[in-house]
């Protein structure tokens, strides 16, 4: 029977070409707009570090003084998302997690050794030893440094492939020297074009997608050499706006915990640390130590810009209006065929048959609309890729999204067809047959 219904549907659609085209256009526009935005958001919410992400956590404290009246300023608002230097150092040296690392972003002038080449600024990260094993960074050559190197403020650097190529061409970089600002660093490792999307470990801002960090140097060495830091540097009270002060939050801190039990234990450790600090006159706010998993953290930090979420809602709203449009058009179309329905009913078709017949007709429109929607979504994604934003290159459809487009289109049009088909199958046959 479905084959027959399909033929009926095609015949009916051919009979009113303009109207069919309008319905396909409406559903295609709605699907195209929605799928463009859904695909972009899907790509942006991808796991930046598959296989490792469920073991990575971010601890969060609130070392600020109690809020004071309405003046607020630095002391109001949400808990800082970075740590102070003293707190990070305590967590680092406590070794209570399987791995832990403190880090901050920055940019430094790089001076090529060759004469005649201009110095240039490069963005990188100042990190501690566990950074590389914890994030399983792929090394093309060499390795990271040890905790001892951190304490010794060793002048060593791990380059990403891009900077290594820019400085040394195809020649091996290990053992060579790079001059950062005014200091020589020895290259001990080269990463294999590591650029997790987003750069989850950094402070989440509008640069989270896009360019990759090109070098990594020990945090304490960078601090000693007064390298430029980027990202929030948030201070309160007096006592000097110093990087090493307990009044300024600016460090990102990550821990690796291999099992949920360990995560539980680490949470308890953080709360204990908070209480201990209270005994020493710090952390005056009520104990509320938090430990975020990687994906929760990205949510918490609003990785997806508000603009994009708004665009998604706009696209879905558009799809909604398109669907109402189609419901109306299908209803009118089906009810105009009262005569045909009555003849079929009189010849023995059950209400269910009529319902299925019109359902199939709606699905055919949905499939055609899905096809148009897919083309429009590809066009939309292409236009997204032309944007200057860092996430733009991610805007591609994977097979799941491709399938999703058709599912959404057919579901939307069948849903839109439900009410009209229901009304159509309730047409009273006798009444209609009597008509002239």
């Amino acid at each position: 029977m479905p084959g027959y219904y399909l033929a009926l549907a095609l015949r009916s659609l051919k009979r009113s070409k303009v109207l069919t085209a309008l319905m396909v256009l409406a559903i295609g526009l709605g699907i195209g707009a929605s799928m463009t935005m859904i695909t972009v958001l899907h790509a942006m919410s991808g796991d930046p570090l598959p296989r490792r992400s469920d073991q990575l956590y971010v601890p969060q404290f609130d070392p600020r003084p109690l809020p004071r009246g309405r003046s607020g300023g630095a002391t109001s608002g949400e808990m800082p998302d970075s740590l102070t230097w003293p707190d990070a150092m305590v967590l680092l040296r406590a070794h209570r997690a399987d791995r832990q690392a403190a880090m901050a972003g920055g940019s430094v002038p790089v001076r090529p050794a060759q004469a005649g080449r201009h110095p240039f600024f490069e963005r990188g990260h100042y990190v501690t030893a566990d950074f590389f094993p914890m994030f399983a960074t792929p090394f093309r050559a060499g390795s990271g440094w040890s905790a001892q190197d951190d304490e010794d403020r060793a002048r060593v650097v791990v380059l990403n492939a891009g900077l290594a190529r820019r400085l040394f061409g195809a020649a091996p970089a290990i053992g060579r020297t790079v001059r950062l600002k005014d200091t020589d660093f020895r290259v001990i490792g080269v990463l294999d074009d590591w650029h997790p999307q987003p750069a989850f470990y950094a402070k989440i801002d509008d640069r989270a997608f896009g360019q990759a960090d090109q070098f990594f140097v020990p945090l304490q060495a960078a601090l000693d050499l007064k390298f430029k830091f980027s990202g929030d540097f948030h201070c309160w009270g007096s006592g000097g706006d110093n990087r090493r002060s307990g009044h300024c939050t600016w460090l990102q801190f990550w821990v690796q915990l291999d099992s949920p039990a360990k995560a539980q234990a680490y949470r308890a450790f953080l709360a204990d640390y908070w209480r201990d600090q209270q005994a020493h006159g710090r952390f005056p706010r009520p104990v509320d130590a938090r430990l975020y998993g990687l994906t929760d953290w990205l949510d918490h930090e609003h990785l997806i810009p508000a603009d994009l979420r708004l665009q998604l809602w706009l696209a879905l709203g558009f799809l909604g209006v398109c669907m109402v449009d189609i419901v109306g058009l299908l209803l009118a179309k089906f009810l105009r065929r009262r005569g045909e329905i009555c003849v079929r009913r009189a010849l023995g078709a059950r209400q269910r048959d009529i319902f299925v017949q019109f359902g199939i007709e709606a699905a055919v429109i949905g499939l055609a609309g899905g096809m148009l929607g897919l083309a429009l979504a590809q066009l939309g994604l292409w236009s997204v890729r032309q944007r200057p934003d860092g996430y733009a290159p991610l805007a591609h459809m994977d097979p799941a999204m491709l399938l999703g487009t058709f599912v959404l289109a057919v579901v939307a049009s069948v849903l839109a067809g439900l009410l009209p088909a229901w009304r159509a199958c309730h047409v009273a046959p006798a009444l209609q047959l009597k008509a002239p």
């Binding site: 409406a26 300023g73 110095p119 600024f121 603009d307 109306g328």
Partner: protein
């Protein structure tokens, strides 16, 4: 006009009429709020920055030489830049509208008082007012003896010792509503600072939604960080040449530096709003798409009704209705349905606005948007129904005698 038969006829298609009204309502609600977003972004993109936008070029110089005196280096650089033909004024500054380099201080109006608001500090060398083209509307420019170094090496300690400031008119009004701001004291750091001048406009380096975008104050503090921005003022036709020459001049003085972000102010502004331009395009496309789909829906349903009622139309024509009567009938019917939808749409628009205000930085929907959007949609409805209505009017009376 036969009102009652029209209503009776509409009740025969309750569901379709309801769907059409619902669609109009949804479209009205979304388009109202989209229009609000478009207007907000467009207004922000057009905000004047207060500087002579057509005449400014700038470039950042980061010295790699940590030793030596940055103030002396900047003075040498400025003297050389001033010598470029076509340059009418130069200054070394740390912040500019749209350059995202925002150093804000909490401003109190009493010693030990709490901060009333946070204002951006704009620091620069003498002559910054002329170089940027800022308009002093009251008071005076800084005196040479008021200038002190910013002391960026010691956490910008200059802010605790500076004695004078020039504020924007908007900031003055926010700090001292209804009073003359000249001579008043403010507390951006540890010590009082006297307001000696007022300029008409100056935007902060980063814009936000709200009223604080001109919370800007100039201080007589000399940038002494190794990274500094040089601003050159020159007639618009010479900007490109001056910019190229400036880089050559600076490189010639001291090659141990990195020159970045050499651009005209117009490029800076255009880069700053790039994302907003994309969003504006998307919002316009969404509004156009919605209106198109709604028009398609109205036209589609109307042509169905016309086909369905061909006999009825023929009978009406046969018993004396003119073509004009038939046309009017369909137009009036459309006006009634769309009008009904718009009543719901206006309410929906207000509800959606409240929802969006809660989750996104969207302002209150001004009531003027509602009648304008409603009228636009109502006209769109009339336009969409015109084709089918004309076809209806063309039905000949003889149809009444046929059976089909």
């Amino acid at each position: 006009m036969p009102r009652v038969p029209m209503l009776a006829s509409l009740t025969r298609h309750k569901l379709t009429v309801l769907l059409l009204a619902l669609q109009v309502a949804l479209t009205c609600a979304i388009v109202c709020n989209v229009a609000l977003m478009i207007a907000g972004r467009a207004a922000q993109m057009r905000t004047p920055s207060g500087v002579a936008e057509g005449e400014l070029v700038m470039l950042d110089s980061a010295s790699l030489n940590d030793g030596g005196n940055p103030l002396a280096r900047h003075a040498t650089d400025l003297a050389a830049l001033r010598g470029i033909p076509g340059v009418t004024a130069v200054a070394a500054v740390d912040a500019l509208p749209f350059n995202r380099n925002n150093w804000s201080n909490g401003i109190a109006t009493a010693p030990d008082g709490s901060a009333r608001l946070a204002a951006t500090a704009f620091n620069g060398t003498p002559g910054e007012l002329q170089a940027l083209g800022l308009h002093l509307v009251a008071g005076r420019d800084f005196r040479p003896d008021e200038y002190i170094p910013m002391d960026s090496a010691h956490d910008w300690d200059g802010i605790n010792h500076v004695s004078a400031t020039i504020v924007t008119r908007a900031l003055a009004a926010r700090l001292f509503p209804g009073q003359d701001p000249l001579g008043k004291l403010v507390y951006p750091g540890d010590n009082p600072v006297r307001i000696v001048g007022v300029i008409d406009h100056l935007l902060r380096p980063m814009l936000e939604t709200g009223d604080g975008n001109e919370d800007a104050m100039l201080f007589p503090m000399l940038p002494d960080d190794s990274n500094v921005t040089y601003v050159l003022r020159t007639p618009p036709s010479q900007r490109e040449r001056v910019l190229k020459q400036a880089a050559v001049v600076l490189d010639g003085l001291d090659a141990d530096r990195i020159l970045r972000h050499a651009q005209t102010f117009e490029q800076l502004r255009s880069d700053y709003f790039r994302r907003d331009r994309t969003m504006l395009g998307l919002l316009l496309a969404a509004a156009a798409g919605l209106l198109l789909v709604t028009a398609v829906g109205i036209a589609g349903l109307a042509s169905f009704w016309v086909q369905q009622r061909r006999r009825a139309i023929g009978i009406r024509r046969a018993v004396g209705a003119t073509r004009r009567d038939i046309l009017r009938y369909f137009q009036a019917e459309n006006a009634l349905i769309v009008g009904g939808g718009l009543v719901g749409g206006v309410l929906l628009a207000l509800g959606l606005n409240l929802l969006l205000m809660r989750h996104y930085e969207l302002p209150h929907l001004p009531l003027a948007y509602l009648p304008i959007t409603a009228l636009a949609l109502w006209l769109l409805g009339q336009l969409a129904v015109l084709g089918p209505a004309l076809r209806a009017a063309a039905v000949p009376p003889v149809v009444a005698t046929r059976t089909d």
